[in-house]
């Protein structure tokens, strides 16, 4: 029983971070209709920024959020502006050119980081990295608990932004119908750039917050990209609410898989869920909730 509760708790807390990763991906997917296969790699770059700030200046990972998130936001805007938007105008046989482009960008980012930081594993040891709070016999990892609350705050802020600001409304309008939005005077290129930046910023926040409890090496981006799309498929493509459910579901499933089946299966379980969702519930949780 305790093992069950413990698994539930750690899965749920991790799921909060996964939700943040998934929302970033699903936002980009909703507005541009493309899958950002450099998503995990952007997260990896953010993790390296956090690591460098800590290693060089002793900046606390949570303080470095103020640096890594804007930095990756700008990187995301630049990628969209200089690499993805120009592709819209080129006529080719393959419509998936933008997705291929993100693959190329992801590879380049990984290798540039490997060039700078080598392939060695890095990690940050803070005074609270291993701190746990006990409630009965169930332990809560302090960093993961903080992460969960920041994730909730960021998600809330994002929803407020999307619902109640002009830019947010333009983003939703572009996601619904790009052509109609352009006719209504929305600058679609600007909106896509901002959206990509936002998605990148969210995943950057997740990466930075993962740093106190996780290790880092250049190839870590790929697995997180895959997690992100499993979350999106679970939640329903383009659905932000779905991404939250998807993220928490994936966190729970991974935790249960690791506890009851075996550690080495944790990565594969996500992918198997991916196929199961396609088979049993195409359209994801969006189909049930309608959101």
């Amino acid at each position: 029983m305790e093992l069950l509760l413990q698994t539930l708790v750690s899965g749920f807390l991790k799921g909060g971070l996964y939700a943040l990763i998934g929302i970033g991906m699903t936002l980009i997917m909703g507005v541009m209709g493309i899958i950002n296969l450099a998503h995990g790699q952007l997260m990896m770059v953010s993790m390296y920024i956090t690591y460098s700030l800590f290693a060089l200046f002793g900046v606390d990972p949570y303080v470095s959020l103020a640096v890594s998130v804007p930095a990756i936001f700008i990187l995301g805007v630049a990628i969209q502006k200089f690499f993805l938007n120009p592709l819209m105008k080129i006529d080719t046989i393959l419509p998936e050119n933008q997705v291929l482009m993100t693959v190329g960008i992801g590879m380049a980012l990984t290798e540039i980081m490997r060039f700078i930081f080598t392939s060695d594993y890095k990690s940050i040891q803070t005074s609270y990295s291993k701190t746990t709070l006990l409630m009965g016999n169930i332990s809560f990892s302090l960093p993961l608990l903080i992460d969960f609350f920041i994730a909730v705050i960021l998600t809330g802020a994002l929803f407020y932004f999307l619902k109640h600001t002009d830019t947010g409304r333009s983003i939703r309008a572009t996601a619904q119908d790009r052509d109609a939005a352009i006719l209504m005077g929305v600058n679609a290129e600007r909106i896509t750039s901002i959206t990509f930046g936002l998605g990148a910023g969210l995943v950057a926040a997740a990466g930075t917050m993962l740093m106190p409890v996780f290790y880092l090496f250049p190839d870590i981006g790929g697995p997180f990209t895959r997690k992100a799309f499993v979350i999106c498929i679970l939640g329903g493509l383009g659905s932000s609410v779905g991404a939250i459910f998807g993220g928490i579901t994936l966190g729970l499933v991974e935790a249960f898989g690791a506890t009851y089946i075996g550690m080495e299966f944790a990565d594969m379980i996500g992918l198997i869920i991916f196929f199961l969702v396609l088979l049993v519930l195409p359209g994801g949780l969006k189909r049930i909730t309608g959101m």
Binding site: E96, L100, F115, L278
Partner: protein, 355 residues
Amino acid sequence: MDPGVKKTAIFALLVLFVSAPLFVKNDYFLHLMILAFMWVVIGSAWNLLAGYTGQVLFGVAAFFGTGAYTSGLLVNHLGWSAWWGLPLGGVTAVILAFPFGWICFRLRGAYFALATLALNEVMRHVATIWESLTDGMAGIMILQTFYAPITTPLGILSSKTPYYFISFVMAALSIACVILVTRSKLGYYLLSIREDQDAAESLGINTRLYKMISLSVTAALSGVAGGFFTNYMGFIDPETVFSLHDISIMAILVGIVGGVGTVYGPAVGAFIMVIVQEMFRTGVFGLLSSLAEGTGSGAIITLEKHISSAHVLMFGILVVLVIRFMPNGVVGDWGKVAALVTPCRRANMRQEAGE
């Protein structure tokens, strides 16, 4: 190009390829040619599904690796010759493709691409975890059939010569296969699915069925290539044959560098990519290291040290550049490439057009 010139050119190339091992005895050269031929097969397979049917495949390695493991497992568990892996590798790859296609062809565009990526990863994990069958990360080692120089009436030939001819025949057959498909009714069905799936369906084309056929041919060709890889290399492990970068992304690069949706595009792309890959792996064929030794220049020494580890970075940059500036590849954008190489011809053409 007019058809007569094209036919002569192709015939001349065939003669050249067939006779090459008789006068070129350099193992390294033959090795590169064998790799290039293998990539012609994989590139053509990828091109059939992605270029002609419009279903972008990110996980060709799933089928390639299945073929490779079929070959290896036949030797390890049944004691058969690894050459059975060529036909049976194709068969097992198709067996894998069937349930996958059945589930995933309900997805379109980029989502299908993602599903293939997931298949790639699942297969890699399976091969790693199922140690009782595959020996996991340790990989499978088999005895190569040809390893000593071969004495023939034409003189002593390199041990790679048989592999050269087998891979050459495979490459030629796979191109023939693509030509056959594209010139048949099936080819037009596939093109119509690529152009507009809904329109194709409304015209009464069973899109699911034809996408499945296209996927099966792709899987079969990739599986055969995988079986050949095991025979040629003698060693496979999950990281090599199910590699996302070195197989799946490389296949996409071969396709887009050469020209998506063209018959000879992947063949051209295969040679370009194998050369590019080798250039980075060996530091421009050892030129850099000799330069570094000769001149003692610090910059060249640093460059030489890093260039071999930078081939994935170059792959990434190449993807970005090719998609940005040459989205239809060397064959598809031949006009652009030719204009780049011969600026005066462009001027001539303009003059002619002006007259």
